[in-house]
């Protein structure tokens, strides 16, 4: 670590002078210099250790510095680091086979590889439009689908605004966000029926003959791990079938074992027409994303040109990493661990909800979870108003966690807790003790 850190001051100066960081006013930034990472931890230049409780950006499912994946990348770099996408390459063909034959729902036929989640969604928009010959695209308000222009227009939350005025034909609908629905539903099925009926009504108003696709994060990610109520996804599927609309499940965050299944949609037994993915396919070791296409849509492109292309589509280094990553998930039983450790995490979250005045709700499925902070449990008033945080309360909370060695991020009034899928029970308990301490401070803040 010492050799890395000798020049820590200079690295920070260079970073500050030349590097633009995401989603931030640059002037006040003081990013931590990270010099080492392993498993669920990383270390700063002073040797301080942090629990990586967000798996970076909910992508580092296998943890830091997995040797099998690193070796696969090294081998491919020496053998054949790049070819343009028109050639057949062993690792590309094998990764596509693995995804279709071993991982994806059985209605899926082919994969179009991209570089990340945003361009996976960009290409899914185009595929749905080419396949249906229609132009309108539905997505939900509490959603994030990426920050490139088309993906940002799919996105419902405020990170959409810099890309507006938006692309014509992009329509938003409401999420089945039961904690804030404001309706006293008798059961989950009734809630699903309400939201699906409203979606169907909106489709009718927009002209079903104009609607190409509906995009849904299967389990909403950064906007608060909103888990679809029972019957919701099946209801959306029915509306899509009724009107010939392409159902697209964005599994960029929820996929690859995060919820304890290869894809979150498997929990509800629903088969979408397209699945977009990224993040956990290579866990960030090299960038890769893609669109998994149903057999029916794949066969459409047998005699219609697929007007999608990227210089780095199906990059061999990334595909080699993808193969190794799928093997790691299987060999290390990470889906099973996500399920098992998800129960431990769920218990810890429920304890926090019971104990702390500031915790309005906790939501969890596998190792995908969020803590929703409120000023008042009864009124459910969020600790910061939607789209605003003038007193910078949420960054303060995230900094308090970070100071104590718990690294994660927040969005609106939610704190995300999404550790690597390799985490152990004692590690969850140790890390959540830090969360408990910080929430005690937040309780004082809202008094």
């Amino acid at each position: 670590m010492q050799e890395c850190c000798g020049d820590a001051k200079r690295i920070k100066e260079l970073d500050k002078r030349y590097n633009l960081h995401s989603w931030s006013a640059q002037g006040a930034l003081d990013p931590t210099l990270v010099v080492k990472a392993e498993g669920i931890y990383f270390w700063d230049a002073d040797g301080k250790r942090y629990y990586d409780m967000s798996s970076q950006l909910v992508n580092l499912n296998v943890g830091h510095c997995n040797k099998k994946i690193i070796e696969a990348i090294k081998r491919q770099a020496e053998k054949l680091p790049y070819l343009q996408p028109k050639f057949a390459v062993d690792v590309v063909a094998e990764l596509a086979r693995k995804i279709i034959e071993e991982v994806a729902p059985d209605n899926m036929g082919k994969v179009f590889f991209t570089l990340a989640g945003a361009d996976a969604n960009e290409n899914a928009i185009k595929i749905a439009r080419m396949y249906t010959g229609r132009h309108k695209i539905f997505s939900r308000y509490r959603s994030y689908h990426g920050a490139t222009y088309g993906a940002a227009n799919l996105t419902g939350e405020p990170r959409r605004f810099p890309s507006e005025p938006g692309i014509p034909g992009f329509i938003k609908f409401f999420d089945p966000y039961l904690y804030r629905a404001g309706i006293d539903f008798p059961n989950e099925e009734a809630a699903s029926k309400y939201f699906v009926d409203k979606f169907r009504e909106q489709v009718l108003y927009e002209g079903p003959q104009n609607v190409a696709a509906v995009f849904l994060e299967t389990v909403t990610g950064s906007n608060g791990v909103i888990i679809p109520p029972k019957g919701y996804l099946a209801g959306i599927r029915e509306v899509c079938d009724e009107f010939g609309i392409v159902m697209v499940c964005d599994e960029v965050m929820a996929g690859w074992g995060r919820t304890g299944e290869w894809f979150a949609v498997n929990h509800w037994g629903v088969k979408p027409d397209l699945i977009t993915f990224a993040k956990g396919i290579t866990c960030g070791y090299v960038p890769l994303g893609g669109v998994i296409v149903s057999k029916e849509i794949a066969s459409f492109f047998d005699n219609h040109p697929l007007m999608c292309g990227l210089t780095y589509s199906a990059h061999p280094l990334a595909c080699a990493a993808g193969i190794a990553t799928i093997d790691v998930y299987k060999e290390e039983g990470l889906l099973e661990n996500a399920k098992k450790m998800g129960k431990v995490l769920g218990q810890e979250l429920e304890k926090l909800k019971e104990k702390h005045a500031c915790v309005g709700d906790v939501r969890y499925i596998g190792l995908f979870s969020a803590i929703e902070l409120v000023k008042d449990k009864k009124t459910r008033e969020p600790i910061v108003p939607f789209g605003k945080d003038p007193e910078r309360i949420m960054p303060k909370i995230i900094n308090m966690l970070f100071e104590k060695g718990f690294s994660t991020y927040s969005h609106e009034n939610m704190v995300l807790v999404n550790p690597p899928l390799i985490i152990k029970e004692n590690e969850i308990k140790e890390a959540m003790k830090i969360m408990d301490d910080v929430l005690s401070e937040v309780d004082k803040m809202i008094q």
Binding site: P176, Y177, L178, Y179, N187, E188, A191, V225, I226, I227, P228, P229, H267, K339, G342, K343, G346, Q347, L349, E350, D361, V362, R363, Y364, I365, S369
Partner: protein
């Protein structure tokens, strides 16, 4: 005898009034699974149960000293 049944996660959706805490009449020797199934809660949605703070199997009989049973859900919130 009466025990307190505490439903976590989304399990309260199965109870008619959606209470998270219920007082339930049980017979000594009855197993936890049967008590939980009385409310139509699918066993597949249960992560584990904690009886007075201790994790127990669903097929274990309820003893007379039991006061509260926390039923943890696999999936929480919505």
């Amino acid at each position: 005898m009466q025990i307190k049944l505490i439903l976590k996660g989304g399990l309260h959706w199965y109870v008619p009034e959606r209470q998270e805490v219920l007082s339930v009449e049980v017979n000594q020797g009855e197993i936890y699974r049967d008590v939980i199934e009385r409310f139509g809660i699918p066993i597949s949605e249960i992560a584990f149960i904690q009886v007075d703070g201790e994790i127990k199997e669903l097929n274990q009989p309820i003893t007379e000293d039991v006061k509260s049973v926390v039923v943890m859900a696999v999936v929480g919130g919505g």
